[in-house]
Symmetry: C2
Subunit: 158 residues, 2 copies
Amino acid sequence: MTNQLFVKMVLDAWFTQVKEATNLFDQLSNDQLQQEVSPDRNRGTYLLGHLAAVHDRMLPLLNFGEQLYPELMDYLNLPDKSMTKTINTDTLKEYWMNINATLAGRFNDLQVDEWFQRHNAVSAENFLKEPHRNKLNVVISRTNHLAYHLGQLVLLKK
Amino acid sequence: MTNQLFVKMVLDAWFTQVKEATNLFDQLSNDQLQQEVSPDRNRGTYLLGHLAAVHDRMLPLLNFGEQLYPELMDYLNLPDKSMTKTINTDTLKEYWMNINATLAGRFNDLQVDEWFQRHNAVSAENFLKEPHRNKLNVVISRTNHLAYHLGQLVLLKK
C-alpha cells in the first residue's frame, strides 16, 4: 500500500509536468519556438528536441526497450549553435507525443515492486550499496529536468 | 526500510536542487541578479525573493512552526513590476540561507512515518480520501518549483 502510494506521488508529478510542457508546446507557434528563450540562449525548438531525446533515452535506461528516435541524439550531444542537421519542429512535436505516450504505457504496465529495481545505468553490485538508484528515482530526476527547461520555455510566451 | 528509502530519494532531490540554486546565487553578482532573466521578465533578485518566500511558507505548511520572514509575502503575492517595497539582495540571500537551513534541520528531525502524515493545506477528512497529499508530497512539488525557476536563473550567468 505505501509503496503504491509513493509510486503514485512520483508519477503524478511526472504526468503533471509532461502535461504542462505539452500544453505549452501546443500554445506556442513554430515561429515562437524558433526564438531564443533569452538572448544568445537555446531556441525553443532545440529544447523541445532536447527534452524529447532525454525522454526517449529513458526507454533503454528503464529497460523498456530501444529508444524510438536515435536521430534525436544530436539534441543531447551538441549545443544548439553547433547543430548542423536539425529536425523540423512539427516532427519534434510528433516525436515528443509518441515518446511520452510510450513511456506512459510502460509506466502503467509496471508493477509497483518493479519500480524499486535498478535502472540500467547502475551495476547490480553498486545497486546493493545504493538501492535508491532505482527506476523510480530516474523518474524523479527527469521530472526535475523537465521542470527546469519548462521554466525556460515559458519565457517564449507572449 | 522501503519507506526510509522513499524519503531518502525525495530529500536527495530536494537537497540537490537547493544546493545548485545556492551555488548559483553565490556565483551571480548583485548586478547580475538585478537583470531580467529574459527581456521584460522577472529579475533575478525577485526570483530569489520568490523562492525564499515559497520555502519560508513550507514551515507552517509542514507544521514546523511559523514562517521566519513575513516581509517576504510580497514576493509571493505581487509580480516583480508591481513591487513597491523590495528587500535588498544581500538580505534576501541571508534569508534564503536561514530558511533552507531551518527546513533542513526540521527535515532531519522528522521520523519516516511522519512524512506520510497530512500537510496543513488538506483537511483530515480529505486526507482519508487522498493520502498522497502528505508532507513528502509537498517536498516533491516544491523541488519541481525550484527546478523551474533555477532553469530561469541560470540564464543570468555570463
